[in-house]
Amino acid sequence: MGLFEDLAELGVDIDDAITRFMNNSALYEKMLKKLPKVVDDSAVIPYIENGDFETALSNAHNLKGVMGNLSISPLYKCYTEVMNLFRAGNREEARLIIEQNIELQQKVVDCILKYS
């Protein structure tokens, strides 16, 4: 098993990603290895708790874009929904969705770190 296989088990759409990266799997791997820092820098829940919704929204937006570009489909879906809920003013439900996905997010990060 390698990085791509492990990530595929977590729901990452590797084929879609490789196509997106014009069959440049080395570049895809290089970009994946930047993900742990992005996740670290873009926490959402603490800002919802502090009432800083602007930063919470900005960080969720960042995570949506990155998860999408890296084809981490379940988390892209999660943050897309979070953004929609934020826009509808439903912050509590947005927080709930993140909490339901935080374990998966950590697994993806840990998997990448294992190969870094």
Binding site: F21, V38, S42, G68
Partner: protein, 348 residues
């Protein structure tokens, strides 16, 4: 890498910037900015920026702030801005288009498509900017040629009138400094610098109608009879007829408009006793009033077939005394303010 072609990637997330850097680094010099403020500093200082890839939601200054500023400065018309965003808020994206964004590329994006889309538009802009430069150059050339043709025409008329061609240059000079002074002293007569340039250019055609006056009158070495003077007076109207026959694209539209007015009205007087229309006061445009004073001053201080030249001081005195007809007191006040400058100019 193409010469002098830079792409600016603006995103607060390093991984998003890195992706675009990888995508374009072989074809462009890729510059990165983390927020809108940094982006604007680069856009305003680096002339090699060919395109901007802009995220919308960023700290410090967001993408809408960058677009607004580029729209305000007009840079948006020269540099294509691509919005690359995960945002799907229709209202915000519509506002981005409204501010001049050329395309909106949603994250996640396909690298091969984004490359083609961006390269195509950059090529279009490059072509458009080249064409715009060529048009600007052509317009400038046309304008210069038009000005030279007008000057040549005015000089020909002066030669016909047995003058050296210096008369039109002096009229232009006096008109320029007198109009500038009036504009400074009297806000009601304000004309901006570009307008004054055009008035000065237009002034040289004031006597174009003299080409229609017979030699025996135009070159008569003595005082004109009343009938001859009546014929001489029609040079104002004939000048307008000649201008009306000129191709409209030979000179700047505003210069043409000023020329027409000056041609017809540079012999009107403040008390309505001038010709051809007997207009009084400010019924006559300020530029025609200015050329009237400039023309009289130059005529008085020049040798003509029917009279010797008066000194500059004597000419100024005669104009102030109303010996050549009455002029607007404000024009005279400005004329007296700059008389030393006019005298100096006439001695050079």
């Amino acid at each position: 890498m193409s010469l002098g072609n830079s792409i600016l990637v603006v995103d607060d997330v390093e991984i998003n910037r890195a992706l675009l850097v990888e995508l374009f680094k072989d074809d462009y010099n890729v510059i990165e900015a983390e927020n809108g403020t940094q982006a604007l500093e680069i856009i305003n200082s680096d002339n090699s920026i060919t395109a901007v890839m802009l995220d919308l939601i960023m700290p410090v200054m967001d993408g809408m702030g960058v677009l607004s500023e580029m729209n305000r400065s007009g840079k948006i018309y020269r540099i294509p801005v691509f919005i690359i965003t995960a945002a799907d808020d229709a209202e915000m994206l519509s506002a981005a288009y409204g501010l001049g964004a050329v395309d909106i590329i949603s994250k996640p994006f396909q690298m091969c498509f984004i490359k083609s889309r961006i390269n195509n538009i950059i090529e279009l802009y490059r072509h458009r900017n080249e064409l715009a430069g060529m048009v600007e150059e052509s317009v400038e050339k046309m304008s210069r040629l038009g000005g030279e043709m007008v000057e040549t025409l005015a000089t020909l008329i002066e030669f016909r009138d047995c003058e050296s061609g210096e008369h039109v240059k002096r009229i232009r000079h006096i008109t320029q400094i007198l109009m500038t002074k009036i504009s400074e002293m009297f806000p009601e007569y304000y004309v901006d610098k570009s307008g004054i340039e055009k008035i000065a250019m237009a002034s040289i055609l004031h006597d174009v109608g003299k080409i229609a006056i017979p030699d025996n009158i135009l070159k008569k070495p003595g005082r004109l009879s009343p009938d001859e003077f009546d014929i001489m007076k029609i040079h104002t109207v004939k000048g307008c007829d000649i201008l009306a026959e000129m191709p409209t694209d030979i000179m700047d539209h505003e210069v043409y408009r000023y020329s027409y007015d000056i041609c017809r009205h540079h012999h009107e007087r403040w008390d309505g006793r001038g010709y051809p229309d007997g207009l009084a006061g400010d019924e006559v445009s300020i530029w025609a009033q200015v050329v009237a004073v400039a023309d009289v001053f130059d005529a008085l201080t020049s040798t003509r077939v029917y009279k010797p030249a008066y000194s500059n001081e004597k000419a100024i005195e005669m104009i102030n005394n109303g010996e050549c007809g009455l002029f607007n007191p404000k024009v005279l006040k400005a004329f007296n303010e700059i008389s030393a400058q006019i005298i100096k100019g006439s001695e050079e």
